[in-house]
Subunit: 319 residues, 3 copies
């Protein structure tokens, strides 16, 4: 098996996907993140681990929210951060993706945080950098098409570990638009890697990928059935554009069947936690009383997300 | 009387409006600003007061100019600054204002600088933060609808104090589109709080709010009459869109009646100062020879504005 | 001869154009850049030369690429960097160019990096600053209309010196759309100043400025003839909009006549270097195998570009 994100010593060189990442690597990231949770609570929320390094947020797909999480993580590590939104710039001047990357690498970039609408773009960039610019430039996938969003997956793992401790006794349900969700893919790989015995996906058939069972999950189209006795519920964001297509009847109908309400939540274990990668569509995939309720750990995910991104960046920067 | 921006000890927790702010608090801000005026003239224009703090410029309404003043103030205090323009981002993804704020607070934001087209939005955010995220997150109103722009008001007070020393002997005229101006409102509150005995507003009836007299000001529709013997003239910006509505005849006509010319300026006291919050419409609300003339302190306002914003940020950060 | 960019002691106060710059000044910049090439290869790529200084990237014309090079150079010098894209902001509010500059200068800006579609805009700004804000504010021209792009010219000179050592023995060819190219103008002035005995321009007559010979260059419309025995080939970017006009037949036809292919490159000296300011149109002005080939120094240009910009900024900041 090929590990394009590990170097010859088995150390993390890029973070492109959770798929195929050794369990020890995942655990090392989570352990490192733990130390950064404390940094964010300090008076001075800054450590000098990436001082003098140049981190480029290379966003080919606009996302202020995700860009902000990486920017703040990098700044708290004392890096210099450069934000590039590439819809309006060189891309429109006809420069190729790899020419852009070559240019920034020639400016002695240390790290690229890449978001791209095309699945695989960060892999392409990482391979190109390895081949042409040596081992000192790192790539973090901040979401590529429908493929992967590994830091979101890792922060979800961190959150589950924080609240549930032991992965090997858990039943986890992922609910909603699995078909279009890179978060779902990253979460499934993370959960499997960490030894979760039962991962369920719940959603209408139109929003479940064909053959999803082969990822080692149980499939439910009935949410009430699927939520029974689970320890963790991961709600997925439903993008409005899905409504406009033929995939779904209406937001109201979707909410009725797959929205997480207090009533449906009661079917899970009493201490089940509720997660959501955000931004939420309240009243579409989740009821406000659940989103803001005692079982919701949605804002903890955000907090841990910064620590996890700091962990990934500092590990890459040290390798 | 309720002071949503003061904590139990009467210290400034948020800066939302000058209205209702104790005179001592206003004076403390102005005194603190004085020390920062010197910082901007140093070789190294930086103090470490907000080192390791995360300041979020949360601009729901685009304003490069205002955003820049806060960004530079925060950077000179050594804070990490994150700029978020929220027209294109999560807002368009259907995330609510308060969900956005919750998310950023969960990233351990220390301070939000908020600009919003809706009056009251920064209050809503401040109350929400107080209720859900504790006393360590601060909000600065950088302009909300037609309501308030308190840092502009404070920098205007600083400027007047700098040039005129004693507020209790002054006659101040505010000229132009008072109806749509948050600056006018903030200035009136500031001047009243600091004991200015006579505040005048001058403008066409269509641009004066109904019942403005109840704010303790004298109303003039004739500019020549209104300017007589004043010590301070605060010109307001006339937004072009007003012209397109039915509120005004034409820019030429407006300038003739309410534009500040050398000739009209001569009616004020000989040592009267001329102020403008910028950006100016030369030839509409002010004649270039006045804007650039010896009585103009418009650029001093800008300089003092940085110091005042540093003062507000450092006071909030310390409380 | 007037030197608006030199102060009374002959030191660089602004960098507006290479034209008329004394050879010693150019050489001083290149020598200084040499020391910064090393900084970029260090573990901590940062020096404190501009600590506490405020650098404003004032881009009236969008260019993520160029803005990034200046931003990273300023950050590696430890400056505070403020990015202002002025198409959407005050400009649309009707504020004049010089009012914008006055405002930013009043915030104690130390340096402006200006890009503007109008030739001469950075000169206007520099003169205005000199007259109204004293000698401590510096302007760097980051590209003005078709006029000049001096830091690109200087980094090209650095690159040529790095690979060829002695300017006084060189034959240099500049190929393509000379008419619209500020890079070409800056390069010609740089090469002439540094004593290059033979500068050639090669292109179709429609893309050569009338009277270009008066700049001291030899004109060729036949690329094969023009490339013969040259030491350095500087390819220019062909903007797509030229195609849409009447100036050029088609991209294919252009490539056939003026695209740099391996076959045409073979006409130059065997150790000739190939340069391009980027972003490249592969298959239009240059063949991929040449752009990525052993004679290409295109990415070296980018690397040296950061060092040259750090050099210019640090020299200005010290004067």
């Amino acid at each position: 098996m090929r590990h394009p994100q590990l170097n010859a010593n088995g150390e993390l060189k890029h973070l492109l996907t959770i798929e195929g990442l050794p369990r020890a690597t995942v655990q090392h990231i989570l352990d490192t993140a733990e130390s950064f949770v404390g940094v964010a609570e300090r008076e001075v929320k800054k450590v000098p681990l990436l001082r003098g390094k140049s981190v480029f947020n290379l966003f080919f797909e606009n996302s202020t929210r995700t860009r902000t999480t990486f920017e703040i993580a990098a700044k708290r590590l004392s890096a210099d951060v450069l934000n590039l939104n590439i819809n309006t710039s060189s891309a429109s001047k006809g420069e190729s993706l790899l020419d852009t990357v070559d240019n920034l690498a020639a400016m002695h970039a240390d790290m690229f945080v890449v978001r791209h609408a095309a699945s695989g773009a960060p892999f392409l960039i990482a391979e190109h950098l390895d081949r042409h610019h040596g081992p000192h430039v790192h790539v973090i996938n901040a979401g590529d098409g429908r493929h992967a969003h590994p830091t979101q997956g890792l922060l979800d793992m961190y959150t589950i570990r924080h609240f549930k401790k032991d992965f090997t006794q858990l039943r986890v349900a992922i609910v909603g638009d699995v078909l279009h969700s890179r978060v779902a893919r990253s979460d499934i790989h993370g959960l499997t890697t960490l030894g979760v015995p039962e991962v369920r996906v719940i959603g209408p058939l139109t929003l479940l990928p064909a053959g999803v069972e082969q990822m080692g999950v149980r499939v439910f189209t009935d949410m009430r059935e699927g939520l029974k006795d689970v320890d963790v519920i991961i709600m997925l964001r439903l993008q409005n554009e899905r409504m406009r297509g033929a995939l779904l009847p209406s937001a109201q109908e979707y909410f009725k069947q797959y929205g997480l309400t207090r009533e449906k939540l009661a079917l899970a274990k009493p201490d089940a936690i509720v997660m959501h990668p955000g931004p939420m569509n309240r009243g579409v995939e989740i009821e406000s009383q659940v989103a803001d309720g005692p079982q919701s750990v949605i804002l903890d995910q955000v907090t841990f997300g910064i620590a996890v991104r700091m962990a990934v960046m500092s590990i890459l920067g040290a390798n």
